[in-house]
Structures are given as structure tokens and as C-alpha cells.
């Protein structure tokens, strides 16, 4: 199967779940997925034997509160592209051969819940543990909520990969 056929196969499987059009990237395609559709979208790829889950990447999108550098004093902060709130985003990166299909799911700080994909992909448990402790996602139904990377005495509700974290002040 050549690259374009593999890409089209992914689009066909994900079309029922994608919000808006697929984005084309140099490596493949991206689709924005609503969190409630996430388990079904993942299942569609796995049942359709499209590749495997290579990684789940967390991103922090705090709403820019400071003016852009170079902005004149007194100028208003730039218009946010999305809702006016701090958000987190999880990228579910599936790969098949040379094609990367990314599912993008976005949640807000005050409701950072995501459904688990472990019933479909058991090995996702390690990635979900990392999302929880590093960013503060709450992955509902994930089988193991123990710390993966951070030490046992790391303070609760301190998420090191958020932009606001600048050290424990020690």
C-alpha cells in the first residue's frame, strides 16, 4: 500500500468522528476529536487494523495573559484563537508505515477529564499515567493511577510540564 492509500484509509476510518476537516501535515493527517468520541475513534483505527499507537503527547495551552513582546504598553493582549480559558491538549499519535495520524483532544484546566483507551489498547496505561502526573489530565477508568516518573513525595496537584511550573523553589 502506498502512502496516499494508507492516508486515505485513516481518513475513512476517522471521518465519523473528526470535527471539521482533516489537517494535512508533512507526516500525515490530523483530526480534532471530541473527548466523548475518543474511545470510538481509537477503536475504529484498531479494528480497521490501521497501524498502532506510537505515543500520546500532552500539551499545555495557558491562555496568553501577558502582552506579546514588542507590543506597545497599554495595548490589549492578543485575541485568543479559542475559548478564553487555560486548556490542555492530548495528541494520540498513531503510525502506519510512514504515515502519522494524530487525534487531537482538548480539555480545559477546570474539567481536564479524558476517557481511557486502555480497554482497546492495554499498553496505553503507561502513557495515560504520564499525562496525569505531568499535566494534570484525569484519565477516567485508567487501570493504574500510580506515579510513573515522579517521586512518591512529589506534591499533589503540581504538574511539572505546565508552563506555569518553574521549579519547586528548592
Amino acid at each position: 500500500m502506498d502512502v496516499s492509500q494508507v492516508t486515505v484509509a485513516a481518513e475513512t476510518l476517522l471521518k465519523p468522528f473528526a470535527v471539521g476537516a482533516f489537517a494535512q501535515t508533512p507526516g500525515g493527517i490530523e483530526a480534532v476529536i471530541r473527548r466523548e468520541d475518543l474511545p470510538a475513534a481509537v477503536k475504529a483505527l484498531i479494528d480497521g487494523r490501521w497501524g498502532y499507537l506510537a505515543a500520546i503527547t500532552g500539551l499545555d495551552h495557558p491562555w496568553p495573559k501577558a502582552p506579546k513582546p514588542g507590543a506597545k504598553p497599554g495595548e490589549p493582549a492578543p485575541e485568543p484563537a479559542g475559548p478564553i480559558e487555560d486548556r490542555l491538549e492530548a495528541l494520540y499519535q498513531f503510525v502506519s508505515g510512514a504515515v502519522i495520524a494524530t487525534l487531537r483532544v482538548s480539555v480545559s484546566y477546570h474539567d481536564p477529564k479524558l476517557p481511557t483507551v486502555c480497554p482497546v489498547i492495554p499498553s496505553a496505561t503507561l502513557y495515560e499515567r504520564e499525562l496525569q502526573e505531568m499535566f494534570g489530565f484525569v484519565v477516567e477508568g485508567t487501570p493504574d493511577t500510580g506515579r510513573l516518573l515522579l517521586p512518591d513525595d512529589w506534591p499533589d496537584q503540581v504538574y511539572p510540564l505546565r508552563k506555569s511550573f518553574t521549579g519547586l523553589g528548592m
Partner: protein
């Protein structure tokens, strides 16, 4: 994680001193019923250094020095994956000579890594003679890498946009001599691992993972290929110099520990072949192209084949001098799941070899293992677990 009824006392002991030459410690919890493992889980993070966060506070060039040091054994592929990502965002074309040298160093790295693993896996099984001979032979590659790069570990071969150094004819001849020595030795090791009674007793039909299980568990690299799953990023998604110097995917079908030995050794012959090919046909030209300090905004994913399997880098730039996000997904993280899933049903004595089978990115003898039996839990050091396995099979 609670899997059984009954009150249990669990003892957690802090990890002891680390062996300076070996890597990360980890904490395993093995639940046993008599001799048989019924469940296994892992706790990682003992050498978590916060590098993903750290690179956000450094510029794109400095970040490479930090990312190179995530792993000592596969430092070069980390730097390569990162550099390829930055070069994609920056839209630069790396000269072919540089891409070929990147592959040359990557394959030399694979050779040293697989020989290191051969020795460590033999050591875990109590076969110290094989450990000593393989590590002695590995010194040939370490000398070559030191001669080429100045370092035995952390070669620092890459710059953003290319490589730092060239390969001259004298170095090429030294590399050819080392490969000429190692090739027959590798044939010898292949014969040893497939005919030695003691080793076969601990590897044949042990830790068997079918192709379907390997796919479901997300295994990568030799761990997956030993079960017949043909995943190899050098072939599936060729990068750097691999389009010009392709390699073949090496697989086995048995899916047991013996198959994992066979795949890693057979892969070495492919590495030797492509190393010789690159030395004979190194393209002329520059060693690097300039990458500006501010990388254009965008996101990119780069994937490379580390000795342990697929290494994935996700980079995000917001147009500045520092990376906005670097996400590193190492192959061992994928392969842990396969160990935890195949361990149940095996004897406790098999656990050291099962863990060694995935070539985990750590080999510290001071790992701590918690053995949970019905009414209590004990903490064993790795040394004790390893010795238990050796004596069980004596």
C-alpha cells in the same frame, strides 16, 4: 495496584547505589503463587531528570546536548531524531555526506549496543563466559567510535543541519578492520546461543509472545521482530541516509527469548554490510548547512530506529529561539508492557531473563524487586533474583 484479597504488608526499600557504568534502576512488583508469577507491574522514573521541561528553557542548539544525554547507549539516535525534526521545521536540506555519516554512526552504535546487550543478557542467565567475550569484542567498536568522534559514549556527532566531523580513509580502514574481526565472532555467538544447553534451557519457549500479542501490546524493535512483526523504522519510514543505504528487516517467528537473541545477532550482519557500503560510497560534499537560531513555528514528529526499537520525537516551535515542547517517547516504554503481560504463568526464576529480553534501557544490579506472595511481601535485590534464577536452573 490491588489484585488479590487478604491483608498484605508491603515493604518498599529505596534503591541502592548505582553501578557507574550501567543505567536506570527500576522497581518491579511481582505477585507469585508458589513459584508461578500471577501479576507484574513496574515503577519507573528513578533517573527522571526533567529533560523535556529543561529544553524549554534552553535554545534549540543547547537542547540537543541535553537530549543526547537521555541515554548513553543510544545517544546518537536521540540527537538524530531531534536534529531531523528541527531541520524539517526549519525547511533545510542536510547535505548527503552528513546524512550518510549519521547512518554510519547510528549503525556503529547499534553494533555496540547489541553486543552490550548480548553480554548483559548472558550475565543475567549466569553465563559469564559469554558476557566477558562479547564485551571484549565490543571494545573493537568502542575504539573505533572513540577514534571517529572522540568519545566512547555520547558521540555528539550531530549539529543542527548536519554533522561535526568527517571520516577520512585512515578512519575508514580502522572501521573496516573492526568489522572484519567482529563478523566471524558474531557467527560464533549465533552458534553459541542456539546450541548451548544451559542458555537454551532458559530461552527456548520462554517468554513467548505471538505476533498478535506483540501488536496488541505495542511492542517495537527487536522485541516485536522476534515475534514476526516486521516493524523497523529504517525500512517503514526511511530517514537520514537510509533511503540511499537501505537495510533489510530481520524477523524471527518463534517469539521466545531465543528468537530475541537470534534477531539481535542477525541484525548485526545487516549493520556490518551497510557500514561497509557507506565507507565505500560516501557521497562527496559539505558536512552541514546553516540553521537559523529562531526555528519557524510549527509541529513535527520524527521517528528513528534505536537499537531497542522505535524512538519518537514530537517538536513544537512557536517561532522562537527555544523549543516550546519536545516530547520523547523511548522504545523501552513501549516494550515494558510486553514484559508485564508475558510474565504471568512463568516461573519466578524466569523473570530476570524476561526483563533482559526486551533490552531495557537499564541494567543496574541494584534494581529492587518486590515479590508478593499470598500473605506477605518481600523485597529482593536484583542480585538475589538473578541468583535465584541461576540456581533454579542449575
Amino acid at each position: 495496584m490491588d489484585t488479590e484479597q487478604g491483608v498484605r504488608k508491603k515493604f518498599v526499600v529505596p534503591i541502592g547505589p548505582q553501578h557507574p557504568a550501567l543505567k536506570e534502576p527500576g522497581h518491579f512488583e511481582i505477585t507469585v503463587d508458589g513459584e508461578i508469577v500471577t501479576a507484574a507491574t513496574v515503577r519507573l522514573g528513578y533517573v527522571h531528570r526533567g529533560i523535556e521541561k529543561g529544553v524549554e528553557q534552553h535554545n534549540w542548539a543547547q537542547a540537543m546536548y541535553m537530549l543526547e544525554r537521555i541515554c548513553g547507549i543510544c545517544s546518537h539516535v536521540h540527537a538524530t531524531a531531534y536534529a531531523l525534526g528541527v531541520e524539517a521545521l526549519a525547511g533545510v536540506q542536510v547535505p548527503p555526506r552528513a546524512q550518510a555519516i549519521r547512518v554510519l554512526v547510528a549503525e556503529l552504535e547499534r553494533v555496540h549496543s547489541h553486543l552490550l546487550w548480548l553480554g548483559v543478557a548472558a550475565h543475567e542467565g549466569g553465563f559469564d563466559t559469554l558476557f566477558m567475550y562479547s564485551w571484549r569484542d565490543r571494545e573493537m567498536i568502542m575504539d573505533v567510535l572513540e577514534g571517529l568522534t572522540g568519545n566512547r559514549v555520547n558521540y555528539s556527532c550531530n549539529v543542527l543541519g548536519g554533522v561535526k566531523f568527517d571520516v577520512d580513509e585512515k578512519q575508514a580502514d580502522a572501521i573496516r578492520k573492526a568489522i572484519d574481526y567482529l563478523e566471524p565472532r558474531t557467527h560464533h555467538y549465533l552458534k553459541v546461543v542456539t546450541t548451548d544447553e544451559t542458555l537454551i534451557g532458559r530461552t527456548r519457549n520462554v517468554g513467548t509472545m505471538t505476533a498478535a500479542e506483540a501488536e496488541k501490546l505495542g511492542a517495537v524493535g527487536p522485541t516485536a521482530r522476534a515475534s514476526g512483526v516486521p516493524r523497523d523504522i529504517r525500512v517503514d519510514s526511511p530517514y537520514a541516509g537510509y533511503p540511499a543505504f537501505p537495510v533489510r528487516t530481520i524477523t524471527a517467528t518463534a517469539g521466545d527469548l531465543e528468537a530475541k537473541f537470534i534477531v539481535r545477532l542477525q541484525e548485526l550482519f545487516e549493520s556490518y554490510r551497510v557500514i561497509r557500503e557507506i565507507l565505500d560510497k560516501l557521497p562527496p560534499g559539505d558536512l552541514s548547512v546553516r540553521v537559523k537560531p529562531k526555528v519557524p513555528a510549527g509541529e513535527t514528529v520524527s521517528r528513528v530506529e534505536a537499537p531497542r526499537g522505535e524512538l519518537l520525537y514530537y517538536l513544537k516551535s512557536t517561532g522562537g529561539a527555544n523549543p516550546d515542547r519536545v516530547k520523547v517517547r523511548t522504545p523501552s516504554l513501549c516494550n515494558w508492557g510486553s514484559v508485564l503481560a508475558t510474565a504471568p504463568g512463568h516461573k519466578l526464576a524466569d523473570v530476570p531473563m524476561l526483563i533482559a529480553g526486551i533490552d531495557p534501557c537499564f541494567s543496574c544490579n541494584d534494581r529492587i524487586v518486590t515479590i508478593r506472595r499470598r500473605d506477605d511481601a518481600e523485597t529482593w535485590t536484583w542480585a538475589r533474583l538473578r541468583q535465584y534464577g541461576i540456581e533454579y536452573y542449575r
